[in-house]
């Protein structure tokens, strides 16, 4: 304990040189400075708000920036519209047991919507012209026969319903 007190005193003696004058500082002066600091802050906040508003208005008002904003919007909102037709009727009652997975294939550009309709043999329902800002480009795609993804839980369930199991398939049953 004596050592600790000695250490305490030793440090206190050195730190005594850092003792400021007894009445320093004056809180009244400090409060005025703080008020000035707080008052100076508010116009800066207003200035930032005003500058932001000007930038936003300029972005919407000027044709060049508006076009740039529109392009950005298009990139984000609507990139490409694909219409695929799958004839599930072909797969009969077993349609729920699997789903087709299509391969990526090359797109074939066509000049117009009508040409796309002729080529594919059906007329897709497209969004109205207001949704797409630029003139749409059309292309068609021929899908190779899809790979089938089997839904094993549905198959197990169908087997169980028919009185079978994963290892014991009944000779006849319904799905």
């Amino acid at each position: 304990m004596a050592t600790h007190e000695h250490l305490d005193e030793w440090v206190d003696r050195r730190m005594a040189a850092s003792e400021p004058p007894a009445e320093w500082p004056d809180p009244g002066i400090g409060l005025k400075r703080l008020d000035r600091r707080l008052a100076a802050r508010r116009p800066r906040v207003l200035l930032w708000a005003a500058a932001t508003a000007v930038v936003v208005v300029a972005a919407f008002a000027l044709p060049a920036s508006r076009a740039a904003a529109q392009r950005l919007w298009n990139q984000v909102v609507l990139d490409r519209l694909q219409v695929l037709v799958t004839d599930y009727d072909k797969y009969g009652e077993a349609a729920g047991l699997f789903s087709p997975e299509f391969h990526e294939a090359d797109f074939h550009a066509v000049a117009s919507f009508e040409e796309a309709v002729r080529e594919t043999g059906f007329s897709p329902r497209l969004p109205g012209p207001d949704l797409v800002s630029t003139a749409p480009k059309y292309s068609t795609i021929t899908i190779a026969p899809p790979r089938l993804r089997l839904h094993t839980p549905a198959i197990r369930s169908a087997l169980a319903k028919a009185g079978g199991s994963a290892t014991d398939v009944p000779s006849r049953g319904t799905t």
Binding site: V11, A17, S18, E19, P25, G30, R37
Partner: protein, 170 residues
């Protein structure tokens, strides 16, 4: 009173009048530059004003913690600047003519030693020098009250070792 209600009823000016002098004194003990210490103290209260979560009866601890950190950060910034100035041969600013040479040298030694300590040790030494009790130290530096004594002793020991290494036992 619930914490939110206490924060709503917080009298900022009263808190300023209660703590400002001690906050500025804690900082000046570390950096030994009264006008800069006042600026930093104002900065600390400005931060308190912007942090409603720190408002309330426990704002003292928050203020001391912020003040001593501001002081130690400033001290380290200055130590770095002085080092670079020495490297590039720039003369240090002239000493304050109002201070006696002896006091000025003693303060310079305190600054140097505090700047070389771990941040928490320097904070403990500075706050203790301003007369904060163990409980106040624990609250200000968010330490366990039971371990403040041990940590303070370690900080003092580190302070003495650094001092003796640089200036002898004078």
């Amino acid at each position: 009173m619930p914490a939110d209600a206490a924060a709503e009823a917080f009298d900022f000016e009263a808190a300023f009048r209660t703590h400002y002098r001690r906050i500025a004194r804690v900082i000046v003990r570390v950096i030994h530059d009264p006008s800069r210490a006042e600026e930093l103290a104002i900065e600390v209260f400005w931060k308190l004003w912007r942090h409603p979560s720190a408002h309330g009866p426990q704002c003292g601890g928050w203020l001391y913690r912020s003040a001593v950190r501001a002081g130690v950060d400033e001290l380290r910034k200055r130590a770095r600047r002085e080092k670079y100035e020495r490297w590039f041969g720039v003369a240090p600013p002239p000493a304050d003519p109002e201070q006696s040479r002896e006091t000025s040298e003693a303060r310079s030694r305190i600054r140097t030693v505090l700047a070389s300590l771990r941040s928490q040790d320097a904070q403990l030494i500075a706050l203790r020098a301003e007369g904060l009790s163990y409980e106040e130290l624990a609250e200000a530096l968010t330490l366990k009250p039971t371990s403040v004594g041990t940590m303070l002793r370690r900080a003092q020991d580190a302070f003495r070792k650094e001092w003796v290494k640089r200036y002898g036992d004078a």
